[in-house]
Amino acid sequence: MNWRRVRALLLKFAFICSRNTFRAMDVFFWPMMDLLVWGFLTVYMLRMGNTVPGAITFLIGSVIMWNVLYRAQQVISVAFLDDVWSRNLLNIFAGPVRVREYIAATYITGLIQSTIVILFLSAAAAVFYSFNILVLGIPLAALFINLLLMGWWLGLLTTGIIVRFGPPAEALAWAIPFLVQPVSAVFYPVSILPPWLQPVAKIIPSSYVFEGMRQIIEHKTFDGNSLFISFGLNVVFMIMAALVFRYYFEEARTKGLLAKYGT
């Protein structure tokens, strides 16, 4: 791993974002819209008065944490698409760039953007809805790390599919998270799912994160074990995503796809 190259790739992404207002919207505007919708829904439900506050304010926590996962996943694929769209991909891989250096740079970008998103949305939630994310306490860090890890491998998987299937698969960069959202228990507990779907939720790391978060907010208890399970699952999926990515990347080299999409 050559960190000078990783830094150069990060710098490239930073330059690209700094010139593109729409990229700033991805980090600030769209997550904010998400927060507003769920925030107002929360306010409305509280006003209807037939629910206890704790049982409903978790929705705001959910939307903040969901955006952490979404941002990490998306930015990884979009960083790759940037190089495809600007027809720069060949310059990168005709250079002395290792695939793992390229991925490391996108992971770091994911980390930075997810951090910005959680800080920004938490501040906004405090201002608009008096929601204090710090009620999650120390476990918040573990929740964040697990969501980041999941965003990373999901992003890597998405990029692998785009590498292999090209422009028709580009929309997956935005769509893939919604494939796991229903089984992530973001806005409702796993127990609500039909029995045949519950086992699926049990192997999705994010379901433990959102269940854990609700448990802290509603019952002020925290189950460390479940976060270890989540972490373990993330490690397994990370390895699997890396293998799939490598397979697709080599297939793309065999089929001459890097050159095809890159020019």
């Binding site: 190259r5 490239k12 010139r19 060949l90």
Partner: protein
């Protein structure tokens, strides 16, 4: 080790299409080597395989005596590449793009190197411009600046002068010649510009349907195929005539 680049029995199939059938050649240090041939002959595919971008179906590529599959990064650190069809990120400034690639290639004193190259290719005044606003010829010169950042020992160029006006194309040829003399740089280039090839290349191979069908200096080829110019030779070979003159 005399031959800095060795390509042996290279073949590339894309499904039913055979882009490169069987290509072998060696290039010496300090040689300017031209791959010539009609559209679809397999030149770009060959260059991409030499950069590790496309994996050969068969055959081997050795650069600096090392196998490309096994030592891709070590080899590519000492090479560089430019193509008329590959760009730098369009919304970055010219100097930002060059700085990023200088970092990727681990260039010492990147700022000095960038200033030097911008001056060499006469685009210093575009330094602060957004890359996407450059004209085609200006982009081409920027691509060449990028290609020279790491003082490459081997330079792979795919139609590098495609959109340059005759004056600039001439300047670029002179720069390549000068660097060849001073630094013994090895250049492998493809071009449809016969003047480029005639004036620049020490040796030319003619590629047709993924195979090498003739090899030699420009004047040798003209003599062998009985053409008054390389262009005539090109047309003759491309249309499949007088192949008996070819030596493999």
């Amino acid at each position: 080790m005399d031959h800095i680049v060795e390509v042996r029995n290279l073949r590339k199939d894309f499904g039913d299409t055979t882009a490169v059938k069987d290509i072998s050649f060696s290039v010496k240090r300090g040689e300017i080597f031209g791959l010539l041939g009609p559209n679809g002959a397999g030149k770009t595919t060959t260059i991409h395989m030499m950069l590790g971008l496309t994996r050969p179906s068969q055959g081997h590529i050795k650069i600096f005596g090392q196998d490309l599959e096994q030592h891709r990064v070590e080899i590519l650190e000492r090479c560089n590449f430019a193509s008329a069809y590959v760009y730098l990120p369009w919304n970055l400034k010219v100097w930002e793009n060059l700085y990023i690639f200088a970092e990727i290639y681990g260039v010492n004193k990147p700022k000095e190197r960038i200033e030097y190259l911008l001056d060499l290719f006469e685009i210093t005044k575009l330094k602060g411009h957004i890359t996407g606003t450059l004209s085609a010829g200006e982009q081409t010169r920027l691509n060449l600046c990028k290609a020279f950042l790491n003082e490459p020992e081997v330079l792979l160029l795919d139609e590098p002068t495609a959109s340059l006006d005759p004056d600039l194309a001439d300047k670029v040829r002179k720069i390549l010649r000068q660097l060849q003399k001073e630094k013994s740089i090895t250049v492998i280039n493809t071009s449809h510009n016969m003047l480029d090839v005639t004036e620049l290349c020490d040796r030319i191979v003619f590629v047709h349907n993924g195979e090498l069908i003739a090899e030699g200096k420009a004047d040798e080829l003209m003599e062998r195929f009985g053409g008054a110019s390389l262009e005539e030779v090109f047309i003759t070979i491309a249309r499949g005539g007088h192949l008996e003159g070819a030596t493999k």
